[in-house]
Symmetry: none
Subunit: 236 residues, 2 copies
């Protein structure tokens, strides 16, 4: 998967750097750049990175944003605040689609600012685009690693590398087997005096709807028929 770099600027809490590394690796991203982190390296960062400590160890540190993005052709800033100066605002899905359309995704950077204050106006002025994660108006401030998680998730979807969740192969019962089951069910319900053949009402229709919805497999139909046989076997 071709991928943009994630740039964290002036991060205060090392735990957030570790959690960002983990969120990235979960989604298949691996290029993390740190601009003037307040406290790094740090045992807390490594702990929160969990199995993504390799990605953390490879993270590049820079003393200025300019150096971190010098070779980039597209810079996107993550922004929670609405801005007075009009700048294009992307939602995460549109951002991911834009990134994915770039011919050289490796030269795209997505910037995440400080925990409390985000990106400065000077940093925002370096961005070609801003991305904003939709949030509740009551509490719009996402944790920085949580914001990276959402963006990275959309990048993964957009890259189309998402494997369909593994669907187990199911050996569904055939219609013929279903009909045999319904015949067996009806006979048993009559034997049990639960179904009155003179006044069947809608019972079998209701049961058909229920079991058709469940779409039983071969094994399940065998179990159900076994239960019917056991229920019919008891002598009166």
């Amino acid at each position: 998967m071709k991928q943009p770099r994630i740039v964290l600027i002036n991060t205060s809490h090392p735990g957030n750097i570790g959690a960002t590394a983990r969120a990235m690796k979960n989604m298949g991203l691996d290029t993390l750049c740190l601009v003037e982190p307040k406290q790094y390296p740090s045992a807390e960062a490594t702990a929160r990175a969990s199995g993504a400590d390799d990605l953390l160890a490879r993270a590049a540190c820079f003393s200025t944003l300019e150096e971190a993005v010098a070779d980039c052709e597209l810079v996107i800033g993550a922004s929670a605040r609405s801005r007075t100066l009009p700048v294009p605002l992307l939602d995460p899905r549109a951002c991911a689609a834009l990134v994915h359309r770039q011919t050289d995704v490796e030269r795209v950077a997505i910037l995440f600012g400080r925990e409390r204050t985000g990106l400065t106006n000077e940093e925002l002025d370096r961005c070609h685009q801003l991305v904003q994660i939709p949030t509740s108006a009551d509490y719009p401030s996402l944790n920085i690693a949580a914001a990276v998680q959402v963006i990275a998730y959309e990048l993964r979807l957009a890259a189309g590398v998402v494997e369909k969740p593994h669907e187990p192969e199911v050996d569904y019962a055939s219609m013929e087997q279903m009909e045999q089951f319904y015949t067996h069910l009806e006979q048993t319900l009559v034997e049990l005096e639960f179904l009155d053949p003179a006044n069947p009402r809608q019972l079998m229709r209701r049961l058909r709807r229920l079991f058709n919805r469940a779409r039983p497999d071969q094994n399940e139909i065998n179990i159900l028929r076994g239960i019917l046989t056991a229920a019919g076997r008891k002598p009166r």
Copy 2:
């Protein structure tokens, strides 16, 4: 925004509970349920909740999952592992669309399991559906609050952008009624000598999956229990 409850089961690290509260409030969710958290309340949870400490303070604690979801009609489990027994697997977007289509979203629960081991088989057996977040195969294990963040983000999008198709009003059986049915079913199968309590194998698990998939309504559960009563009534 009508919303499902988020249920965290047996969480080890209080920081993850706080981070989950924050992720939820950012996305406009506010009902957090905790089942047997290892360490709670906790200063670390409150610190990580940041501005979502009100949501954390309102979180309900339960000693069992059964109590936490007793009044729910739809239970969705977050699962990283692929399972041997076939269960429907949703991606986060399909999960959010499903939740949004429910007539009573407040009676939907989404379960998140332990940090290392996720949900147990018994817990999975209580779920109508499973949701799986797409991840890199190299490192599929998301932090629990990060997983909640992705699901909550999709729920927010679905609440805003997904057109509600007209759903018939269905009076689904509650989890409590489902459990009463399974108890009744098990007793009856023992009486019928179809289930050997000394060697139950996977019978009840298989039957749970079948009936959970069908998601019976009140009327259907009453029919099924009537059949069990009739089957148990016959003298030997």
